[in-house]
Symmetry: C2
Subunit: 271 residues, 2 copies
DNA sequence: CGGGTCTTTGATTAGGTTCAATAAGAGTGG
DNA sequence: CCACTCTTATTGAACCTAATCAAAGACCCG
């Protein structure tokens, strides 16, 4: 039921996808890029007939891989992705879930090669920003340059918030924030912030949040049981975003009730 | 013993500090700034007699605070600091421990105010980089601009590595990496990478690593007991950096021996 | 329909937190 | 210079959260 209601961001069927591929925008100008990044763009850029190419990717395709020489930044025009690091023991670590308006590839600037890889979780329309060209453009348009610094700073703050979350919040709080964050982002994109489909697996969510997939699943179930959300596989309905937003530990209801029952049962048996 | 040997980065006494204050460098040019940041600097910058001011801070003083309007970046010329975020429940979360050559304040660019605060953990000599002036300089010196992007990217990668560590490593592994990181940084600064003094409390280390201060203390003690390090309060001696570098869980020695003893004791008592 | 991936749920265990008490230092003021 | 206090560090014991191991069900796609 949830799944069928929420068709807006559901994966397209074959025919629709083919049609979309044919009609896909192929180039964007600087103004469109700035709009997408939610940064103010200099009016003076109308002169620039610079255009940035779009490229389509299908589910599972990699936009860039670890170690690949850096020369591009990427903006999501549509679709959903994950970015992933491989730690020393070969395990995937999900770093972010880019969606419309998000910039990625920044990690490649410093070492001149990407330190992470980006994988499409759905069909994606990605705008290529050749970094040399883009930063040169910034040089002649100071406001754009400021905007680039600003976006990079924003990403840094986001990572810091992530560190803070991993360092101090319980599993339940992390999952709650994750759902709130998705809800906010879907809302900002014009989709429903009440009902949406997850594009990633429990395993990927767990990796992103520093939890196991079982803990993610259990926490979803617990939230479902106390009515905070409605969850059925990938379909999510948000019922009480206020509580989710500030949740630190689960209100003593289900699991606590079980323990209380036990705690009361023991003395009763003894008496 | 350890503490007395390691005088190089020990806190200065009053007289030495006063002398240092008097003789402190007051201004640095662009080349010196680039050297400090370990970025290649354009030879063409000799023309610029731009100078960047130094400011001294004493232990406990704040370089910038949360919410303060952003206008500067900062480089550590000497001394040790921490940067801190306050999470929603009012708890401090340590984000980094800047030392010589490190840049901080970047988080303020996006929202035009700092989202973290920086506190001196020792006497510090800090170089002020007015951001407007600095980025303008980048515009006329493309190599500098590239270097600025590069440093920001480096910080982002650092945070990503932090996220990965918090998400996947055990307490012991985190503490081990922390010590290795300090050792490497001291070494790079020309100090001993074998013996040094911690400038931060167990609480601050724990906050940085997403652990409690007790766990940090216990882990230091465990490393000490199996000879990986020598620890006495703030004085640290690194004995086996190779093991620390790759450690994932503690080799079954002390705590395991205790459990095994118990496990064997129980059936023995039963028999 | 069948194989594979993904998800849910249960039982058990282990690693880290919490609470608590003691000890060791650093700084202050008499 | 010593006593006093406050902060910091160490260590123990009990508890609890989340990981691990295991099994069954749901979904998807060819």
């Amino acid at each position: 039921m949830l799944a069928t209601q929420n068709t807006m961001n559901a994966p397209m069927n074959r025919a629709a996808e083919a049609a979309w591929q044919r009609s896909a925008k192929l180039w964007s100008n600087l103004n469109e890029v700035c709009d997408l990044l939610r940064i103010s763009c200099p009016g003076a850029t109308l002169d620039s007939d610079f255009a940035f190419q779009h490229v389509q990717f299908k589910t599972g395709q990699r936009i860039h891989t670890i170690g690949q020489p850096f020369d591009m930044l990427y903006i999501v025009n549509s679709g959903f992705l994950k970015t992933v690091m491989i730690d020393e023991s070969g395990n995937e670590q999900v770093l972010s879930f880019p969606m419309k308006g998000d910039l990625f590839g920044i990690d490649g600037i410093h070492s001149k090669q990407y330190t992470s890889e980006a994988v499409a979780l759905s069909s994606c329309d990605i705008i290529l920003l050749p970094f040399k060209k883009f930063s040169a453009l910034g040089r002649s348009h100071p406001e754009l340059e400021t905007a680039i610094y600003s976006v990079m700073s924003r990403e840094l703050v986001r990572e810091q918030a992530m560190v803070s979350m991993l360092g101090s919040l319980s599993a339940e709080a992390r999952v709650a924030r994750f759902l709130v964050s998705l809800s906010d982002r879907f809302g900002a994109m014009g989709y429903s912030n009440k009902e949406f489909n997850l594009r990633m697996t429990r395993h990927e969510i767990g990796s992103y949040l520093g939890l196991t997939l079982e803990t993610v699943s259990r926490t979803f179930s617990a939230f479902n049981e106390i009515g905070l959300i409605a969850v059925d596989q990938r379909a999510i309905g948000i019922n009480d975003i206020g509580t989710l937003r500030t949740l630190r530990r689960l209100p003593p209801s289900r699991s606590r009730a079980k323990q209380q029952a036990q705690a009361q049962a023991v003395p009763a048996a003894g008496a």
